[in-house]
């Protein structure tokens, strides 16, 4: 790992490792660094050289989704400057990756639009990158299963903007021998919606309750997914309702990190 990224290496000469700029995303940075470390471990197991630009903060979704397009565009330009020199940019979040891939080009014009489009082409959500670009070498042995039944929450942005559906399931099977007990309404929003959950808490909670009931019906003791926003909201509601559902980010499971306390559990 190196703290500062090197010069542009795209396209990489054959034999050289892919140089990945890792964008940890603000939620993982602040609330769950273990997601970041698990992601880096996976990328390194896939043979990548991983850099973490120190100047990174947030992808700009709070501003964008609240209608502050100029504010979001400023953040977008900052991200583009920090990350354009890597072979690939990887984020452990479908919604932040979707922001960079689908929405940066939408809010930027001229030269910056071109740069945003070029960056979008090499930006990947973690499980997509590990499935389509560089596969992590499996461990000799599967980790001891943590729970008998695991369910998966497909986050809306990842699902609909980036088509993330099968990759995390295949990775969980191949790296951890986990079969997903599917939700009945896996394509319905969990109620997080970024700042929506704070603007309209009762509506949001109703949606999360439906999601938790659906998860409970699968018999799962553990719910996982690829977006920390949804997971924090689901875990937070589960704690409030006194439900025992454990919630973890898929990167942690894939990296075999079963020991970090689950979201909202005592540390």
């Amino acid at each position: 790992m190196s703290e500062h990224h090197s010069q542009a290496t795209s396209p990489p000469p054959t034999g050289n490792p892919l140089h990945v700029g890792f964008f940890v995303t603000c939620l993982a940075d602040l609330f769950r660094p273990s997601v970041g470390f698990a992601s880096i471990a996976l990328l390194e197991r896939a043979g990548c050289e991983v850099s973490v630009p120190v100047q990174q903060t947030c992808c700009g979704q709070p501003a964008y989704n609240n209608g502050d397009y100029p504010g979001a565009a400023k953040i977008a330009r900052q991200v583009i400057e920090r990350f354009s020199d890597f072979d690939y940019v990887v984020l452990p979040s479908g919604s932040c990756a979707g922001m960079m891939i689908k929405h940066y080009p939408r809010i930027l014009e001229g030269e910056w639009h071109e740069k945003a489009t070029a960056l979008a082409e090499k930006t990947f959500e973690l499980t997509t990158f590990l499935s389509e670009i560089a596969a992590p070498v499996p461990d000799q042995q599967f980790p001891e299963p943590l729970h008998e039944t695991v369910t998966y929450h497909d986050s809306c942005a990842g699902l609909r903007e980036l088509g993330i559906k099968q990759h995390p399931r295949d990775l969980l099977k191949n790296l951890c021998d986990i079969d997903i007990a599917e939700l009945s309404h896996s394509e319905v929003c969990c109620g997080f919606g970024g700042t929506f959950c704070a603007k309209m808490p009762a509506l949001s909670a109703k949606m999360t309750d439906d999601k938790l009931a659906d998860a409970g019906d699968t018999g799962a003791q553990l719910l996982t997914g690829g977006d920390l926003g949804c997971l924090l909201a689901i875990a937070g509601r589960a704690r409030r309702q006194g439900l025992a559902m454990e919630v973890r980010h898929v990167a942690e499971l894939l990296a075999g990190d079963y020991s970090t306390p689950a979201i909202g559990e005592p540390q």
């Binding site: 120190v54 100047q55 903060t57 700009g60 501003a63 397009y69 970024g194 949001s204 909670a205 949606m207």
Partner: protein, 475 residues
């Protein structure tokens, strides 16, 4: 008057809707069953995507040449003996309808389902002028009896349970002792009551799903046939619709039709699809003696000239309502507008003002399900976000939100300060909440902690841990 709305109270109305558990269950059931019906119909159809693209082109072309097609329609409709009127506002439409009713000394009006006349509140105007107005679509009839507004654009009474409707009929219909314990029994009773009104109405009013420029026809789909009775039994027929319903040809109307029923109810085609071409001809045994088309603008031409013109592609199928988790949770009435759900949250601000309705574009989690299933491929989440941009520009959102977003933006663009501040804050939060694992209450996060616990962060931020680790690596 453009359109009366009560959208400012969205949040309170939605929160009280959550508390009516019976209606919430009804909405949940519909929110689960209607998407399955649509999905099955789309599956059976085959290349639905190609049809969506085809109809999108039709809608685009029609709107790009709206002036031409409106003229053609007017010309063709006049040639067939219709009278054609254009109304700039809802008030103008209502006045024109009243004028026609007065010319014929009408006392009773039978109406088919028409969202446009809900938008203009025509019934209130006619009733104020002493006319008896009978809604004949079963859903509209039920809410008219109950004195309520529609909660859904294709199923106006979907919020009402069977038992509520049975009690309503028992109260409002003066009929002998009877059992009303099945939906069939209620439908039969409504039929009997409504039949009298069809026969005695002086004027029939219907809406239109499409206006065909090439022929001067209007197209209407119903599942009850009530529109046809309104259109053919009274002596005078008035079709009230908006200028954006226009399509060039019958084939184009048919293509739209193939999308419509599948998206709405999952049917391949609705029970009745009728084309109305004009007054009774000399050799026709029946039909109205006089027919009018009233084409309403009410802000549509402004929308056409705006960045939101794609909203005019809407075919009013209601699928985005059925698939929207916020609509399903909050119910249609919470929106305070005749157009609820995602399409309504875009349309209402455009037809009225963002000042009155800026809560609506916020009633969205950006989940994207509406755009995924919209038969007209309208990018609803993008349009809703663009309306939030307008809200932000006009400074309509709460000051503390705007300040918060602004502050966050500034911090996000000052990485060093951001990392220092978050480093301190996260460490503190971790210390305070480590043992428990979560916070029940947290200052500055009350929106979150109102409904859910706030998970305690890990020891310190990723960026700080990473920096520390890296230092050690280099030492």
């Amino acid at each position: 008057m453009t359109m009366n709305i009560q959208s400012e109270n969205f949040l309170d109305a939605a929160n009280s809707a959550l508390e009516n558990s019976q209606r919430a269950r009804t909405r949940n059931a519909l929110g689960q069953s209607t998407p399955l019906k649509r999905a099955a119909a789309v599956e059976r159809f085959g290349d639905f995507e190609a049809l969506r693209r085809h109809v999108k082109k039709i809608r685009q072309h029609s709107l790009d040449n709206l002036d031409h097609y409106l003229q053609t329609f007017e010309h063709q409709a006049l040639a067939r003996g219709n009278q054609v009127h254009f109304a700039r506002t809802g008030r103008e439409l209502n006045a024109r309808v009243l004028e026609i009713c007065n010319q014929h000394q009408a006392r009773k009006v039978a109406k088919g389902k028409s969202m446009v006349t809900e938008e203009t509140e025509l019934n209130d105007q006619l009733q104020a002028a002493g006319l008896e107005v009978i809604e004949t679509d079963l859903g509209e009839y039920i809410i008219q009896l109950a004195g309520e507004k529609p909660s859904h654009i294709t199923g106006p009474a979907l919020h009402k349970s069977e038992s509520e409707i049975a009690a309503l009929f028992m109260e409002k219909h003066t009929l002998p002792e009877r059992e009303l314990d099945t939906a069939d029994a209620m439908v039969s009773e409504a039929r009997v009551v409504l039949r009298e009104h069809f026969l005695s109405a002086d004027v029939g009013i219907i809406g239109a799903n499409a206006l065909v420029a090439a022929t001067g026809d209007s197209m209407l789909v119903t599942n009850e046939g009530n529109g046809d009775l309104c259109a053919s039994l009274p002596g005078v027929l008035i079709v009230c619709t908006t200028i954006d319903r226009i399509v060039p040809t019958l084939d184009d109307a048919a293509a739209t039709l193939r999308l419509l029923a599948r998206s709405t109810t999952g049917q391949a085609i609705s029970c009745y699809t009728s084309f109305y071409s004009g007054p009774r001809g000399e050799s026709d045994p029946d039909g109205p003696l006089e027919t009018h088309f009233i084409l309403l603008d009410n802000q549509r031409s402004d929308v056409l000239a705006s960045d939101y013109r794609e909203m005019l592609h809407c075919i009013r199928c209601g699928a985005c309502l059925n698939h929207c988790p916020v609509y399903v949770a909050a119910g249609g009435h919470a929106y305070g507008s005749v157009y609820p759900g995602p399409m309504g949250s875009v349309l209402t601000p455009l037809l009225t003002s963002l000042e009155q309705s800026h809560m609506l574009p916020n009633a969205c989690t950006s989940c994207g399900r509406c755009a995924e299933i919209c038969p007209a491929n309208i990018p609803l989440p993008d349009l809703l976000r663009d309306l939030r941009r307008d809200e932000h520009e006009k400074q309509l959102s709460a000051t503390r939100w705007r300040l918060g977003i602004g502050l966050h933006g500034h911090l996000a663009r000052s990485p060093q300060l951001y990392h220092w501040l978050t480093g301190v804050a996260i460490k503190l939060l971790h210390k305070l909440g480590r043992k428990k694992g979560f916070f029940r209450r947290l200052p500055l996060a009350s929106g979150w902690t109102q409904a859910r616990d706030f998970p305690t962060p890990q020891a310190t931020t990723f960026m700080r841990q990473f920096k520390d680790q890296n230092k050690q690596d280099h030492d």
